[in-house]
């Protein structure tokens, strides 16, 4: 039995070690022939838990005395400059807000917190307290896109993980989530989504052909487009409006086959401003007239059970 005072390190012996039937020989040593060399940036620490590590390095990697990499926890106070989203004041942000899934609060409760904070802010500046049962339209008018209202809603989004939205890609049964707070422009969001949906090399559950087609996005062809559902339930083309406006109105994202993207709501004059996109837009697929609400019967192909 090990005494309490023993200094424990990886190399210390356990009573059970001599009875270890399994043996550790397999796990120690070099890679087998089939593995390819790890890329320079894929050190364990930086891949971390947030898919787009570029803006949001939350984990610092250290090597243990045995030479194996290990994760050091991110209760560390982050450098102020690494927070890049809008309106944010990074000073004073504690370590806990940098860690995904911590504190452990159910998504349902988090969403409620967000909705409450948002509706409270929406009512700021109104006369009368407690007028929360206004009709839907009136509320929407308050959230129109003038500077003050935007910054109040993005202040909410500042808070840790309340910026996650769902993303689905046509043809891939499993949806994902992306943290909008980790991005400050469409380009980085598009990059993150490409990484998420196209970089996975294991094709279980995904048609190989599908992946090949989709990867043409990187070349700028228009097999898929990125769309989003806004607060009013309309499906719009991403890139349509200024980033802040987008963040405050997006409900969820969908990477849609271009062929199905007819009739998306789109603002005529913003068509010219999508140069920060990696997903390209096929102009011939869109009518420039304000379209009726996109009928999402295609949404019926939902995630299958996983």
């Amino acid at each position: 039995v090990l005494s309490k005072g023993e200094v424990v390190s990886e190399a210390c012996s356990y009573p059970a070690e001599s009875e270890l039937e399994l043996g550790l020989g397999l796990s120690i040593g070099g890679a087998t022939g089939k593995t390819k060399p790890a890329t320079a940036t894929s050190s364990w620490g930086e891949c971390g838990r947030i898919l787009t590590a570029k803006d949001f390095p939350s984990v610092v990697s250290h090597r243990t005395k045995n030479g194996g990499p290990s994760v050091s926890v991110s209760g560390i106070k982050r450098a102020a400059e690494s927070v890049s989203h809008e309106g944010g004041s990074p000073t004073g942000v504690s370590g806990s807000s940098q860690v995904v899934g911590w504190p452990p609060i159910r998504a349902y409760r988090m969403n409620s917190l967000v909705n409450q904070a948002k509706s409270q802010r929406a009512d700021e500046g109104d006369s009368g307290i407690g007028e929360k049962d206004k009709p839907k339209d009136a509320l929407k008018k308050k959230l129109n896109y003038n500077g003050n209202k935007i910054s109040s809603t993005t202040t909410v989004n500042e808070k840790g993980h309340l910026g996650f939205v769902k993303v689905n890609m046509d043809g891939i049964p499993i949806g994902r989530k992306v943290d909008l707070n980790a991005h400050s422009c469409y380009q980085s969001l598009a990059q993150a989504l490409e990484d998420m949906f196209l970089r996975s090399t294991n094709s279980v559950g995904v048609e190989k052909e599908q992946l090949t087609k989709a990867s043409k996005l990187l070349d700028g062809s228009s097999e898929f487009v990125l769309t989003y559902e806004d607060k009013e339930g309309d499906w719009m083309l991403v890139g349509d409006v200024p980033w802040r406006m987008f963040v405050s109105s997006v409900r969820r994202l969908r990477i849609m086959r271009t062929s199905e993207a007819n009739g998306l709501g789109i603002h005529k004059k913003s068509m010219a401003n999508h140069s920060c996109f990696s997903f390209s837009v096929s102009e011939s697929c869109y009518s420039f007239v304000a379209a009726p609400r996109f009928h999402d019967s295609n949404e019926r192909q939902r995630s299958k059970p996983i």
Binding site: V8, S27, V71, V99, G205, K304
Partner: protein, 561 residues
């Protein structure tokens, strides 16, 4: 002498045994008891839906009528009662249930997702004898409130309806009113936020027999007639014992509840952003309260009041109002919990989010509440030490496990070394579920838990320096547990492969959303690891970022690499 009892007699005796554990024990006595028991088992609980296949369950229990499943699904062919937790359920599945099982009685979707109100409409329309529809905390695509109108006029069987999670602003209120009015057995009704305060009175007057009620929105401009109407409606509900909902509360309307407060045993104010003085006023009217869920706006002062007013309190949950803020926004500390532990001797279950803790407080709590069965403490900042001594909180949690001999569930937080795990392994003999984050120094910690906690069923660990040694040395233990989750630890891919190969009764799943684990050296730690026992073999419905470690499957993956 058991031979002298005819089967029918034994079957009758067994029918009084409802607990799953006891049923399982009965089935192990001898072959004939196994046979008799399996033919008369009506209810099956499956803690992990991948641990056993539906076919096996039906083969063993041909007369099953009620299924409770946890985990990710194959959709299972069961009739009459389905309870799912944390699963993805599609509209197609709901439509299938509706089409296939006309006598369907109970559908509980707890924290599920993947379906919309279209699927609910199908259920409402087809299930003529639906008794219970409970969607608690699920993520539902709320396309319109219209689905409620799909309940036919002939549906009068509802006993429980929980639609609190539906998010849209629309609700078909008249359909809801009519539905409530024609279901005389309705005992539990939980509305969603779209239902405004002024509508509550109408609903309650149609269902004065309610035992459990969840309000929708509880905010409106203060108007005397609305207030008195509401107060009157509440007071006519003589059976009402449990309240929840309370989104967007206007405190001036809380006194409308005073007439029922003396009877209340359960109060969920965990979405109510009301401040401590209003909470204190309300709680002081509820002397019979057994269960309170509240936001940390209650503050230490509110908890002190709770401790003096509510001597029957068994369960307390305090949630954070601002979990990501750098500085505390409320005056809620360990003192509040200590006060409750002192004043409420029947306290059994605690969930407490706070920003500071001390060993002394934990020791006091442990000594005051030896009957604790569930203790979950979340100190918001990872690795926070005892704020008085700056030491780890090992001694405090050690006191908890030592004094609370019936402790079944424990969640740790704060600065913790391997010592706390030694305490847990030594004293936590009844511990069934343990959650660990940002704790420990070495594999020794994990080893203490796996080798010491005899009753352990579920272990979840994140961000701890636990690696291969303890896991491999205690591999056999894993077969006695339901599951082990480890993320951001130091378990190598090679160890996972080894476990997968050597332990056929375990499914070892490696989850990595950035790149395949075999694209790195085998000594590299995996991102996430989920190990569970199963007699059904590996599953094949994983998304592409999940890999199963299995001899045969490894080869399969290998060919794609």
């Amino acid at each position: 002498m058991a031979y002298s009892f005819p089967d029918e007699v034994l079957e009758h005796v067994f029918s009084f045994i409802q607990s799953d554990k006891d049923r399982n024990a009965v089935s192990l006595v001898c072959k004939s008891w196994y046979e008799i028991e399996r033919w008369c088992r009506r209810k099956v609980f499956i803690g992990n839906c991948y641990a056993v296949s539906p076919r096996m369950v039906i083969r063993r229990f041909p007369e099953v009528r009620s299924i409770e499943l946890k985990g990710k699904p194959h959709f299972a062919d069961f009739n009459l009662e389905i309870r799912l937790k944390r699963m993805v359920v599609t509209d197609e599945s709901l439509e299938l249930i509706a089409k296939s099982f006309k006598n369907f009685k109970v559908l509980v979707l707890f924290s599920c997702e993947g379906f919309s109100t279209d699927g609910l409409a199908a259920i409402a329309a087809s299930c003529k004898n639906l008794r219970e529809l409970d969607l608690r905390e699920s993520e539902v695509d709320d396309l319109s409130g219209h689905w409620l109108a799909h309940f036919p006029e002939t549906c009068t069987s509802l006993v429980s309806l929980n639609i609190s999670c539906l998010g849209s602003d629309e609700v078909s209120f008249s359909a809801l009113e009519r539905l409530v009015g024609r279901c005389p057995n309705l005992r539990s009704l939980r509305l969603n936020r779209a239902v405004t305060l002024d509508k509550i009175a109408n609903i309650l007057r149609r269902a004065p027999q309610l035992v459990d009620f969840g309000t929708g929105n509880y905010a409106a401009e203060l108007q005397p007639d609305v207030f008195s109407n509401l107060a009157g409606a509440f007071s006519s509900c003589k059976e009402l014992k449990s309240l929840s909902g309370f989104w967007d509360v206007v405190p001036a309307y809380l006194p409308a509840l005073y007439s029922i407060c003396p009877r209340l045993t359960s109060l969920n104010l965990s979405y109510a952003t009301i401040q401590s003085p209003d909470l204190i006023k309300l709680v002081s009217h509820c002397p019979r309260l057994q269960r309170l869920l509240v936001l940390d706006y209650v503050e230490d002062s509110g908890l002190e009041e709770l401790a003096s007013s509510c001597k029957d309190l068994q369960e307390l949950r305090v949630f954070p109002s601002d979990p990501f803020g750098a500085e505390p926004n409320v005056s809620l500390t360990e003192q509040g919990l200590v006060a409750v532990s002192l004043g409420c001797p029947k306290l059994q279950s605690v969930l407490y989010f706070c920003r500071r803790m001390s060993n002394a407080a934990l020791v006091t709590i442990a000594q005051n509440c030896p009957n604790l069965t569930r203790f979950r403490l979340c100190i918001i900042e990872p690795k926070t030490p005892d704020y008085l001594t700056l030491e780890p909180l090992d001694a405090g949690f050690g006191a908890i496990v030592e004094h609370c001999k019936d402790l079944r569930r424990l969640s740790l937080s704060g600065l913790l070394t391997d010592h706390v795990f030694e305490y847990i392994g030594t004293y936590g003999k009844k511990l069934e579920m343990l959650s660990v984050a940002f704790a420990g120094d070495s594999d020794l910690g994990l080893h203490h838990v796996l080798s010491g906690c005899e009753s352990l069923r579920k272990l979840e660990i994140r961000d701890c320096p636990f690696g291969d040694k303890a896991l491999l040395a205690n591999a056999a233990k894993l077969e006695t547990m339901r599951s082990l989750w480890m993320s951001s630890c130091a378990v190598s891919f090679g160890a996972c492969q080894l476990l997968g190969q050597k332990m056929p009764k375990l499914n070892v799943e490696v989850i990595d959303e950035t790149e395949p684990p075999d694209s790195r050296p085998e000594s590299y730690p995996v991102d996430k690891l989920y190990i569970y026992r199963s007699v059904a073999g590996p599953r094949f419905d994983m998304p592409p970022f999940v890999w199963t470690m299995d001899e045969a499957v490894k080869i399969l993956h290998g060919s794609f690499a």
